[in-house]
Every structure is written in structure tokens, then in C-alpha cells.
């Protein structure tokens, strides 16, 4: 992969690190990213170890399965117990909910199937016309358009979606308002920016006087985005800039934005352990209600438990606590047997930390 190699060249990395060092003025700088893939790049390539001590690089809420409310998983489990076919992404199957996981339900006989996307779930529905097929749709702005397309493409009547789709900018609003954990700059998520555009973060940058830079997923992308943030700070600017120009456009993907607007409305949504964040969730529009699993099935409200005793995922998700500070890390909670949602998937901060810090 020629392109990938170029973005990992140690000489370029050193040059950017030198510039970063020349831009720090001694005061502590806290830079937050909100993307699990960025955290993976940062941890895998030891990006933190290259930075001056005064720069703290923190992972925010960038893992969709980590922030999926326990009640949504409980609901999927309940539907699986009723004999319906539950389809979802691989990570979701292992996410701990209140009493169980979809994986445990599958081992008890439930029909839970891992799919690569909503289109696979639609195919399963077509192949099983006498069964109800529910797709548990989890993700951010990146995943939502693919789900919207399936909804708009006249899926079979036995197909429905249990949405737990989140909108990222409102979660960033929460982060900037946390007292004692100020944010000096955001590395904005490359995938999400591909859809909504780097310009989408401009009002946010201006409102909070926080530089934002959309970054790609190679180590040099991340380093360069940090350099760009520091440059803005030095110049007293707070703009939304774009490091990931080979993919992200200022206006984003207009076709994807159109299908999102056709299929979904935006409303308040629960984020696991954090609470309800205003206007942060995609919900299926009423014109498509027949495919909305929340309306289609009568599922009684459950008393769900988002944060199990001892788990500190809600603090990890906000970047306030390092996974290593959780007493369950690597003992009661491991990738093989995750106790909290952040240990499940490759975008979870605890899982990533476990992968790159444990022998």
C-alpha cells in the first residue's frame, strides 16, 4: 500500500513532531478526538509518546457500541427471545446489557446473526418471509446513510430496524462544557466529516472558540492535525479545518445528507452512562414507521442498567478517566469477557488500551 506507507514515513513524522514542539509554549494543551479509529491509530503507532509532555491527547465518545444505551440492547434481546431474527454488527453481539448479551441469547437458542450492513439484513428478510427480521442499527453519521438507503429502498414488510444511531456534534458540545476538563482543540472524526463535511463544525468552533481539524487515520494524519490545531491556537484562531482533504470535502457528501434527511428525524437520545443528549439521535421518520422496530413491536419499558457496578465506562467515554484507572481493567474485564461496553469492540477505548498495553 504505497499511500499508506507514505503516511507512515518516519522522516515526515519527525519533521511534524519538530514543528509541534516549536508550537507549544509551555502551557498544557488538551486535544480531544471523538473517533475510535483515531484512538486505534494513536495507540497502535505510539503517537502520544511522540508528543511534548504538555500535550494531552484524549479519547472522547467515538465508539458507537460503547454509547448505545443498555435499554436498546435489552430491547434487541427481548425481541430475540420472542423468536424473531436479530441481525446486527459483530461488536454489538457481545455488548453487555442489563442481564445478558445477544451472544448469550444466541447460545441459548435465539436466532442472532452477524451482518456487514443493513443490506444483508434486508436479504435475510427476503429469504425468510414468514419471520420478522430486525436489524439493530448502531453507529454515527457514517453508518446512518447506508441504513437510510435500505429504509428508502422499499424493504420487505417483515423487515424493521431498531435504531441507536447517534449524531456526533451534540456530544462535542457536552465535552466542552465539562468543568475542569477544558478542550483546547478537537480532532474531528474523518469518517463523520466525510458525510457532514468539515464546514459542519465551523459554527461549533466559533461558538466555543475551539479549533477543530478533520483528520485521516494514518499516524501522519493525526500528527498533522495536532500541528494544525496548535497553529490555530498560536494564531488565536478557532476554525474548522480539514487535514483529510483526500477524502473529506467542506460540504461533505450531499447525497448521503439527502437520504439521511429523508429517512430520519433528529431528536434527544440516550448515550450510555452519560444521559440524554439533546438532538443527538437519528429516529425513523413516521412515513417509514412500518419499519421502525420501536413502534412495530410492543416491548415493555425495561429497567436497564447502563453502567454495572465498578465499571467506569461513563468516565472513560468522556475522556475523564484512563482505562488503566478502572480496577476491573484486565482482570474482571477483558476483551474475551467484557464487563463494560468499552472493552468490546475495536473502537472501544478500553479494548484498544488492552490491545496495546497488555502482553
Amino acid at each position: 500500500m504505497k499511500q499508506s506507507t507514505g503516511f507512515r514515513d518516519a522522516r515526515y513524522a519527525q519533521a511534524i513532531v519538530n514543528e509541534i514542539s516549536s508550537l507549544v509554549d509551555g502551557r498544557n494543551i488538551r486535544i480531544v478526538h471523538v473517533c475510535g479509529t483515531h484512538e486505534d491509530t494513536i495507540s497502535q503507532h505510539g503517537v502520544r509518546s511522540l508528543l511534548p509532555d504538555s500535550i494531552k491527547l484524549v479519547a472522547g465518545p467515538g465508539c458507537p457500541v460503547c454509547v448505545c444505551a443498555a435499554k436498546d440492547v435489552d430491547m434487541a434481546i427481548e425481541l430475540s427471545r420472542k423468536g424473531h431474527i436479530i441481525t446486527t454488527f459483530g461488536d454489538m453481539v457481545r455488548v453487555p446489557a442489563t442481564n445478558s448479551t445477544l451472544a448469550k441469547e444466541r447460545s441459548n437458542g435465539a436466532d442472532v446473526r452477524v451482518v456487514y450492513g443493513a443490506s444483508d439484513a434486508v436479504s435475510i428478510a427476503r429469504d425468510n418471509p414468514d419471520r420478522e427480521v430486525v436489524f439493530v442499527g448502531v453507529g454515527f453519521e457514517t453508518t446512518a446513510p447506508t441504513i437510510a438507503l435500505e429504509l428508502l429502498g422499499k424493504p420487505p414488510s417483515n423487515f424493521s430496524i431498531l435504531t441507536s444511531l447517534k449524531v456526533i456534534p451534540p456530544a462535542m458540545e457536552i465535552l466542552v462544557n465539562i468543568e475542569g476538563f477544558g478542550v483546547d482543540g478537537f480532532i474531528t472524526p474523518g469518517h463523520v466529516s466525510t458525510i457532514i463535511g468539515s464546514s459542519a463544525f465551523q459554527p461549533f468552533a466559533e461558538k466555543h472558540r475551539v479549533p477543530c481539524v478533520a483528520a485521516g487515520f494514518e499516524p501522519l494524519d493525526v500528527l498533522e492535525s495536532i500541528r494544525m490545531i496548535l497553529k490555530q491556537i498560536q494564531e488565536g484562531r478557532a476554525d474548522s479545518e480539514n487535514e483529510y482533504t483526500r477524502v473529506v470535502k467542506p460540504e461533505g457528501n450531499l447525497a448521503a445528507q439527502r437520504v439521511l434527511a429523508q429517512a430520519f428525524r433528529i431528536d434527544d437520545a440516550p448515550w450510555r452512562g452519560l444521559g440524554i443528549i439533546k438532538k443527538s439521535g437519528y429516529y425513523i421518520k413516521k412515513e417509514l414507521a412500518e419499519h421502525d422496530a420501536r413502534l412495530r413491536f410492543e416491548i415493555p419499558e425495561t429497567e436497564s442498567v447502563d453502567i454495572l457496578p465498578g465499571c467506569r465506562c461513563h468516565e472513560v467515554i468522556l475522556g475523564m478517566t484512563d482505562p488503566l484507572e478502572c480496577s476491573l481493567f484486565g482482570t474482571r474485564c477483558t476483551p474475551e469477557d467484557p464487563y463494560g461496553p468499552c472493552m468490546v469492540g475495536h473502537e472501544g477505548t478500553c479494548r484498544i488500551r488492552h490491545e496495546y498495553t497488555m502482553d
Binding site: R272, G273, E298
Partner: protein, 92 residues
């Protein structure tokens, strides 16, 4: 919507996995020596004020007798934070 394909299954346990779940309510726990510590810790969560405000505006008016477990579930917050929200309301 029918659920004709019901699969017989064991009834759902209410407490499971090394007693992960604790059924707790403000009244049950109030005299406990660690109660005030729990409430203070929960209130130190930087999102507490926002969650308490949301509960006051959108949940508690229609559900005055809501339990801490129910509130925690509705808001997707920790049980401690839900207890602290109900405690603050009681002390208003």
C-alpha cells in the same frame, strides 16, 4: 403484530451474574453511613446538572413516583446519579 414464533425459553432472571444488579431506592438507602458520600460522588459528575435538569423538566413531572432504577434506565445514567437526582428533588 403477532409473535407467533415464540421459542420456549427459561424465564428471565431478575438478578444474575454475581448479583450485578442492585435494587435500591432513596428511602432504602438514606440512613446508610455512606449515603452522603454516594450522593456527593454522583453530584460531582460534570453531567449531573444537565441530567438533573432533563429529569426535572421531562421525566419527573409525569412520573412523580419513579424509582431510582427506573430513572437511571430512562436517562441511561448510573444508579448513583439517579439517586442523587431524586435526593435533590426531595430536599427541594
Amino acid at each position: 403484530m403477532t409473535d407467533s414464533k415464540k421459542t420456549p425459553r427459561k424465564s428471565r432472571a431478575t438478578k444474575k451474574e454475581s448479583s450485578k444488579l442492585i435494587d435500591i431506592n432513596v428511602a432504602d438507602f438514606k440512613g446508610h453511613p455512606l449515603y452522603s458520600l454516594l450522593i456527593e460522588t454522583a453530584k460531582s459528575n460534570p453531567l449531573f446538572a444537565g441530567n438533573a435538569g432533563y429529569a426535572q423538566n421531562y421525566i419527573l413531572p409525569d412520573n412523580p413516583n419513579i424509582t431510582a432504577r427506573e430513572l437511571a434506565s430512562r436517562l441511561s445514567i448510573t444508579l448513583g446519579e439517579a439517586l442523587a437526582i431524586l435526593d435533590a428533588r426531595e430536599n427541594d
